[in-house]
């Protein structure tokens, strides 16, 4: 104080404040702004360096990258990455026939390409349908080796697509288009009825490209990808229906949907998986056998649907009432109101949380190992069982964790980016 007063008396200007720019300024501001802060920095730095040195020493300096078996690998005192080199094909593809491993590899590539293309907003139109149809066809053809499309499926697709088109375009489209939708609906409906009665035999389109591989032999990354992706894809329309039902004015429909959603959300996924694995066979007619993989998929779909429904309900609730009323005022029917006015706006809001749900399910599919399905985590776990390579669980788990991390982290980044991107229009 006295110093300043003295300087002012002497007519000298006060010294400018210390420059807070540059690396030194950054250090001072962010790491050493006070004594307590400096102490925290020093302690944390010591901790980080200690862990870092230990890890580098274990994972690189003393690690063994090539070894014939476990005991030889253990001599190195460090990590045994040779185990990963030995087992990575099993970890990625499970018990799929060894010489055919290119098939799950390309199936994974097809699914990743499909997912990556879906991230591009320019594809968010009819292209998405094409991408998913082609991608799914390639994936399952590679995984199964042969596919069979029963006639019933075509009738069903015709009935549903025609019916939705009919309802959605009524009073909007040209009479010719409506006639096409009507024809599709009627042909599909009659065909399905005749098929159920048994007039039309069980014809089907068969494609035999490779040798057949049953789902019991599937394993590793493709299983995780298929369960998470298709679990969510099938759960999506049914989640929309549940969400719409929950917001409905009809008390019985609303009650059913609320009860179902709350029941599913109140119990853990494991209990649903156990239920699917022991109870689904009981539910179906005596003698019918349902694939274990399909059982797990059904459980994942049931579970995901309830969670998706709650997210979509959030989107529906965020819409102002005026949107519903305006649609009513224009004389749109329920299907038109929902599909043309409400859902496009509601779904746009919920895309980022939906991606977060997908991340959650990508991780949660690891639970299927409890009912004996060989997903990525389970194959990693099985790789540890080999007595020749016993005693290196850390390496395998770190490897598996790294793969999961790459998937989940990139998806969460994408979700963050999309959140900003989609809100550009509403933020000022």
């Amino acid at each position: 104080m006295a110093d300043i007063a003295e300087r002012e008396r002497a007519g000298k200007a006060r010294a400018a404040p210390t420059v807070e720019g540059g690396a030194l300024g950054w250090l001072r501001r962010n790491l050493f702004s006070s004594w307590g802060n400096a102490l925290t920095t020093v302690v944390l730095l010591g901790f980080v360096v200690w862990i870092g040195i230990w890890f580098v020493d274990w994972a690189i300096v003393h690690a063994t990258f090539e070894a014939a078996n476990g005991p030889e690998c253990g001599k190195g005192q460090g990590a045994c990455w040779a185990l990963i080199g030995e087992k990575y094909r099993y970890i990625f593809f499970g018990s799929f026939p060894y010489e055919q491993h290119w098939r799950p590899l390309f199936a994974c590539i097809a699914m990743l390409a499909m997912l990556l293309l879906s991230c591009d907003r320019r594809m968010w139109n009819w292209r998405l349908l094409v991408i998913w149809t082609v991608g799914s066809f390639v994936t399952f053809l590679l995984m199964f080796g042969e596919l069979r499309f029963p006639l019933t499926l075509f009738f069903l697709v015709g009935l549903v697509a025609g019916g939705i088109g009919w309802g959605m375009r009524a009073g909007i489209a040209s009479p010719r288009e409506i006639a096409i939708h009507k024809a599709l609906t009627i042909v599909g409906g009659i065909g399905l009825a005749l098929r159920i009665v048994g007039v039309i035999p069980a014809w089907g389109l068969e494609i035999n490209a490779f040798s057949y591989v049953e789902t019991g032999l599937w394993g590793g990354l493709p299983v995780t990808l298929i369960l998470a992706t298709y679990g969510l894809v099938f759960a999506f329309p049914y989640g929309i229906l549940l969400a719409l039902g929950r917001r409905s004015n009809l008390p019985l429909v609303k009650g059913l949907c609320v009860g179902f959603i709350e029941l599913i959300r109140g119990v853990p996924l494991i209990s649903l998986l156990i239920m699917a694995s022991v109870m689904l066979p009981l539910f179906l007619p005596t003698g019918s056998n349902i694939d274990k993989f399909l059982r797990a998929l059904v459980a994942v779909i049931l579970f995901a649907g309830a969670y998706i429904a709650e997210i979509i309900r959030g989107g529906l609730q965020s819409l102002p009432r005026g949107q519903f009323e305006a649609a009513d005022a224009m004389g749109l029917n329920y299907l038109q109101k929902t599909s043309l006015i409400i859902l496009p706006q509601a779904l746009r809001v919920v895309i980022p949380p939906l991606i977060n749900t997908f991340i959650g399910f990508f991780k949660d599919t690891s639970l299927v190992l409890i009912i004996g399905i060989f997903d990525f985590l389970n194959t990693a776990n099985q790789a540890l069982v080999d007595p020749n390579w016993a005693g290196f669980p850390g390496e395998v788990y770190i490897f598996a964790a790294a793969i999961y991390f790459v998937f989940c982290y990139s998806m969460s980044r994408y979700s963050k980016y999309l959140e900003v991107e989609l809100n550009k229009g509403t933020r000022r």
């Binding site: 009809l250 109140g266 190992l369």
Partner: protein, 396 residues
């Protein structure tokens, strides 16, 4: 006038198929009919299948002898106990890990969430990477990793790590430490403990009221902690200070006596806590960020330290944003504790799974699981909703 016009409009007759009320009911009847039909189809199939497989129905099995061993029990249990008892043991184990997990997760998650907002760059970065690493890898993988670490990295019982002069033993069979032998005085010590808590709460209320009235502060938290410790200690002294302890001793292949924290429990608790804390941290961080910047600036302006500002100004307000999503995190901890089955901790799902395998009565058992989890979930929701009302903004 307008009302008159509307009221005097001629009643137009609407065809019944265009009447929204009738349409609504028809639609509902169709939906309920379809759902009911599906249910009837499934139930009739199930009945036929059960009859064919000669599987009994009903809950009679609960009274029969379970015949399986459970490694970690909080209440007395032996293979001769009933299935009902085995399931009850499982429920208690689930509750134990869920309750301890919820408490630890809340503390750790809050610390990390605040750490991410620290002005110290290094601390903020470390907390950020903690969150990213833990929430982007499946919980089940963490559980396996921690379980393998506990069960393989620690030595066997004979080479156990001895601590505190051979009273605490750490081995791959768990952490063994001495406990006092059961004594009637313990009941009174427990009562003293409860009394201490009640006293501390009353003291805190009084201190708050006095501060509001006079501005004088009273170190109520320290004094309260003192009460909680001193009262049971006094009761113990009055009760004759029973000091007989049960010490863990190596007998054969494992330790006998003392209290043990099993490796399965440790792995589950650690995995669950570290994983879920990452989610809590994000909730706490966004809750604090949702506050207006003026709040922290005003707190600094009236001379509060960063810690005081956080504790007295920011966190109480952020709680309003934080509590609703925390409810679902707590529910997730409870539900995720069912992953215990993968590493062999005997929780509810594990007990039920063995029971299903032994009795074949899947439906009844799955009903029990669902009822148990729904009860716990609904209780947690109800409590959190009540708490949310307590902290909600009271507008006058």
């Amino acid at each position: 006038m307008a009302v008159d016009t509307i009221g005097s409009l001629p009643q137009t007759r609407v065809a019944p198929w265009n009447n929204p009320v009738i349409r609504g009911w028809v639609f509902q009847i169709v939906v309920v009919g379809l759902v009911g039909g599906l249910a009837w189809y499934l139930v009739s199939n199930t009945m036929a299948n059960l009859e064919k497989a000669k599987i009994a129905t009903g809950f009679d099995f609960l009274g029969r002898e379970a015949g399986f061993e459970i490694g970690d029990t909080m209440i007395e249990y032996s293979p001769a106990s009933t299935y009902a008892r085995a399931i009850w043991v499982g429920i208690l184990n689930t509750l134990r890990v869920a309750v301890i997990g919820i408490i630890l997760t809340t503390i750790l998650g809050t610390l990390i969430g605040i750490g991410r907002l620290s002005p110290n760059w290094l601390l903020a970065k470390i907390c950020e990477w903690y969150v990213e690493i833990f929430r982007n890898v499946p919980l089940l993988l963490w559980l396996f990793l921690f379980y393998k670490l506990v069960s393989e990295a620690f030595p066997g019982p004979r080479q156990a790590i001895r601590m505190l002069g051979d009273s605490v033993f750490l081995s791959n069979r768990g952490l063994y430490f001495p406990i006092p032998v059961a004594d009637p005085v313990h009941k009174w010590i427990g009562a003293g403990f409860l009394l201490g808590i009640v006293g501390a709460w009353a003291l805190h209320r009084w201190a708050k009221a006095r501060q509001a009235a006079t501005g004088q502060q009273f170190p109520s938290i320290l004094a309260g902690l003192g009460l909680i410790i001193v009262v049971p200690f006094l009761v113990w002294l009055i009760g004759g200070a029973p000091a007989k302890m049960s010490w863990p001793e190596l007998k054969g292949f494992n330790f006998q006596g003392g209290l043990v924290i099993q490796p399965e429990f440790t792995a589950l608790l650690v995995g669950l806590t570290l994983y879920t804390a990452a989610f809590v941290a994000e909730i706490v961080r966004s809750g604090i960020l949702a506050l207006h910047k003026g709040q922290s600036e005003a707190a600094a302006a009236i001379g509060l330290s960063r810690g005081q500002a956080m504790r007295l100004v920011l966190l109480p307000q952020a709680l309003r944003v934080i509590v609703p999503p925390m409810t679902s995190v707590f529910l997730n901890i409870t539900k995720n504790s069912s992953l215990a089955i993968a590493i062999g901790y005997p929780d509810l799902v594990a007990s039920i799974n063995v029971t299903i395998n032994q009795t074949g009565q899947a439906i009844e058992n799955i009903l029990i699981i669902m009822a148990a989890y729904l009860t716990v979930s609904l209780s947690i929701s109800a409590f959190m909703n009540w708490y949310n009302k307590q902290i909600a903004m009271k507008e006058r």
